[in-house]
């Protein structure tokens, strides 16, 4: 190996290590019924915690002391105490919770009930269902606006993004997007939300005020069949300079200029890349790779994949805790 290349690799790995404050990464493993804990400093798995059946969506509590887990086949939400590394309690969720969003106050969970065509709102302090909102077929993506006023829910078979007013709990707008919408991700300024469409193969950028699609981002990876490009996870930097989109069985993450919407490059990650999460200072993106049973670590600065870390079977969700 030429010396120059060794130097580049050494610098790249140094950057990766320096850039990361010591975070802890949590990954839900859909087929193992476990959560894998990965040490963010040296990027090695340190613990596997048994949880309920078919854990999918995960989100940190506002104080970052607990992890909420959609235990889909147990039909409830579990609250994992991250200090004790044990399930502290469960919350009701309605049937088959797949994915959810925590409102900015940290009190309410908005849960997509995939089999019942409902969004369930749960009070996390009282462990009570507050209400249910009927939505389209197979609700999936849940994105709450930074000010907490609007929830965007996608329905996979109805092919819509439903905008729900969180004060009145009414659906106020329905935006038709491409086939099988998965995630709805708000920009930090609250001006836009981005909706990925797994079968449509696109990401729609929606103007949140006008509730109109302003851009449909398409993808083309040389050597990868068009049908294998299936966007799911979306992560947008706080300054809205960059966006990352997981392309499923294309085994790539697209890096997008979030201002011009141009796709800048495609990063090769593990197989069937699905969910994405930033670390706290947004110097890294973590990806769950459902088929290769690992997570990939992307260095945001260099836009390179710096490591893959083995986790459990069929990793689904990922979060990073400071």
């Amino acid at each position: 190996m030429p010396n120059g290349l060794i130097m580049v690799l050494a610098i790249a790995s140094l950057c990766a290590i320096e850039g990361a404050a010591a975070d802890t990464i949590y990954v839900s493993n859909e087929k193992d019924n476990t959560i894998t804990v990965v040490d963010g400093a040296n990027l090695t798995p340190v613990k596997t915690i048994p949880v309920g059946q078919r854990p999918r969506g995960i989100v940190l509590s506002k104080d970052a002391k607990s992890l909420y887990i959609c235990a889909s086949d147990s039909d409830h939400i579990e609250v994992l105490d991250l200090a004790a590394e044990k399930i502290a309690r469960t919350l009701p969720s309605g049937a088959d919770p797949e994915f959810f969003a925590l409102d900015p106050s940290g009190k309410l969970l908005y849960i997509a009930n995939e089999d019942d065509n409902l969004v369930t709102i749960v009070d996390t302090d009282r462990s009570q269902v507050v209400t249910e909102i009927p939505v389209g077929v197979e609700p999936e993506g849940m994105g709450i606006s930074p000010d907490g006023k609007y929830l965007v829910n996608t329905s996979e078979t109805t092919n819509m993004a439903h905008v729900i007013d969180t004060a009145t709990r009414q659906v106020v707008a329905n935006i038709l997007v491409d086939s099988r919408p998965r995630r709805a991700e708000w920009t930090a300024d609250g001006a836009q939300f981005w909706v990925s469409a797994e079968i449509g193969g696109t990401v729609s950028v929606v103007d949140a005020a006008k509730r109109e699609i302003v851009k449909r981002i398409t993808f083309a990876v040389p050597g990868v069949p068009n049908e294998a490009i299936q966007p799911v996870g979306v992560a947008i930097t706080r300054d809205r300079r960059l966006a990352f989109v997981a392309l499923g069985p294309a085994n790539r993450v697209a890096v997008i200029d979030a201002q011009s919407y141009e796709v800048m490059r495609y990063l090769l990650v593990g197989q069937r890349v699905w969910s994405l999460a930033f670390n706290p200072d947004q110097s890294r993106v973590y990806t769950t790779n459902g088929v290769s049973n690992d997570i990939s670590v992307i260095d945001v600065g260099s836009q390179k994949v710096v490591k893959s870390v083995p986790v459990g079977q069929a990793p689904w969700g990922v979060v990073s805790r400071p």
Binding site: D115, V137, E138, E156, T157, R180, I199, P249
Partner: protein, 399 residues
């Protein structure tokens, strides 16, 4: 005497609500979708485990309506299924006239090819689009194609191509072909031969299956079958025994009984199909569970095809923001139409023969083995078009 199952119900609705179609919510546009099928006698299957359901197909259409209705709540569109079932051995034409008189122009059919053609050619069928969810016959996509029929199930040619692509990808290229007595069996065998030529597999030997085992429930009957299959396959050098037996007369009796240890594929063993019970990828679990919940049984190919037909109509209605049947069909046949149907691909209709392009599952009773097209079988426009009859080879000439 068998009566039209729904004739009296339709009459009541027609009298009670002469202008507004059934079930419509106020302020909404309602689209009626017809269902036309024919009663058939159930045949005892070879495996007692798989009893033929009496409501095959229609349960898929009903689930499609439920899904369309959920979406329709947000778009101001309502969908109803007008169910019509013709008597066994009777004429299907009155069923179509019934639907036509009600103004139904989109008709999902669960009919075999001759019955489907008989209604598609009626004067009352002018302006009607049919959605074939029952027949895999190649001729409906070739010399007997019709401009007013779309096909939801894969053709036999697509199924054969899907299987042979996989066997070639595995480098199991030497095939023995066992052919049953049905017309469908002969057509599937012919498609397998054609696929073998196309993808460079070899039919080492083809044999008709003629042995009639008699009463299969006879005690010790398995001895005779085991000996017969061993004799049938002895002295032949091949990789895979491909079977064409759509009626399930002998195909399930081949595995583990061949002279040499060889896997079985085709209509039994490793089966190419539109849908399969073990399929749980690309969100398929959700459709499987919705269907199980509604029908209290597993979804079959025919149920899936009927669900796709109704969903295709719903999807085109949503996208074209119209409940006008002509607008819907126009959109469906346009380049903008795509259907998501839990197989990880965008499905659309081939312009040259009305066939829905789709991946084909390869599964046995307990597991999904693969999904074709296989990687590496390339096509200039869509890899899905490596399955079945492509545009340059089509014999379909729509008037």
């Amino acid at each position: 005497m068998r009566a039209w199952r729904v004739a009296s119900l339709l009459l009541i609705l027609a009298v009670a609500a002469p202008s507004a179609p059934a079930d419509g919510r106020p302020g909404e546009e309602t689209l009626q979708i017809g269902w036309l099928s024919q009663a058939t006698k159930r045949i005892l299957p070879l495996s007692y485990l798989d009893q033929l359901p009496a409501d095959e197909g229609i349960q898929g259409a009903r689930l499609g309506i439920v899904d369309n209705e959920t979406t329709g709540r947000f778009t101001g569109q309502s969908f109803t299924l007008v169910e019509t079932i013709a008597p066994e051995n009777g004429n299907v034409a009155p069923g179509l006239r019934e639907l036509s008189a009600k103004g139904v122009q989109l008709v999902v059919t669960d009919l075999v090819a001759p019955a489907l053609l008989s209604v598609a050619d009626l004067p009352e069928a002018a302006g009607v689009t049919f959605f074939n969810t029952r027949s895999a016959d190649d001729r409906l996509r070739a010399e007997d194609c019709r401009a007013n029929i779309l096909h939801l199930l894969p053709s036999r040619a697509m199924l054969a191509d899907a299987l042979i692509q996989y066997l070639v990808a595995k480098r199991w290229q030497d095939l023995m072909l066992a052919v049953g007595r049905g017309d469908g069996d002969r057509e599937f065998a012919s498609d397998v031969r054609h696929a073998a030529r196309k993808f460079q597999a070899h039919i080492v030997q083809e044999k008709p299956w003629t042995f009639v085992p008699g009463a299969r429930r006879t005690d010790t009957g398995h001895f005779a079958i085991q000996a017969e299959v061993a004799r049938f396959t002895q002295g032949i050098s091949y990789d895979v025994l491909v079977v064409a037996d759509e009626e399930d007369e002998f195909g399930d009796d081949l595995s583990y009984r061949t002279f040499d240890p060889r896997p079985v594929a085709g209509t039994q063993g490793l089966v190419p199909s539109a849908w399969a019970r073990p399929h749980e990828q690309w969100g398929a679990t959700q459709l499987q569970e919705r269907f199980l919940h509604q029908a209290k049984r597993w979804m079959t190919d025919r149920d899936y095809a009927a669900w796709m037909a109704v969903r295709a109509i719903g999807e085109a209605a949503t996208r074209s923001t119209s409940t006008n049947p002509a607008t819907i069909v126009g959109f469906m046949r346009s380049g903008h139409f795509e259907l998501a149907a839990y197989k990880g691909a965008r499905l659309s209709f081939r312009s040259w023969d009305g066939q829905l392009r789709q991946p084909v599952l390869l599964a046995d009773a307990r597991s999904l083995v693969s999904v074709s097209p296989q990687p590496g079988f390339l096509h200039q426009s869509s890899e899905l078009d490596t399955l079945g009859v492509d545009k340059p080879e089509t014999k379909c000439r729509m008037g």
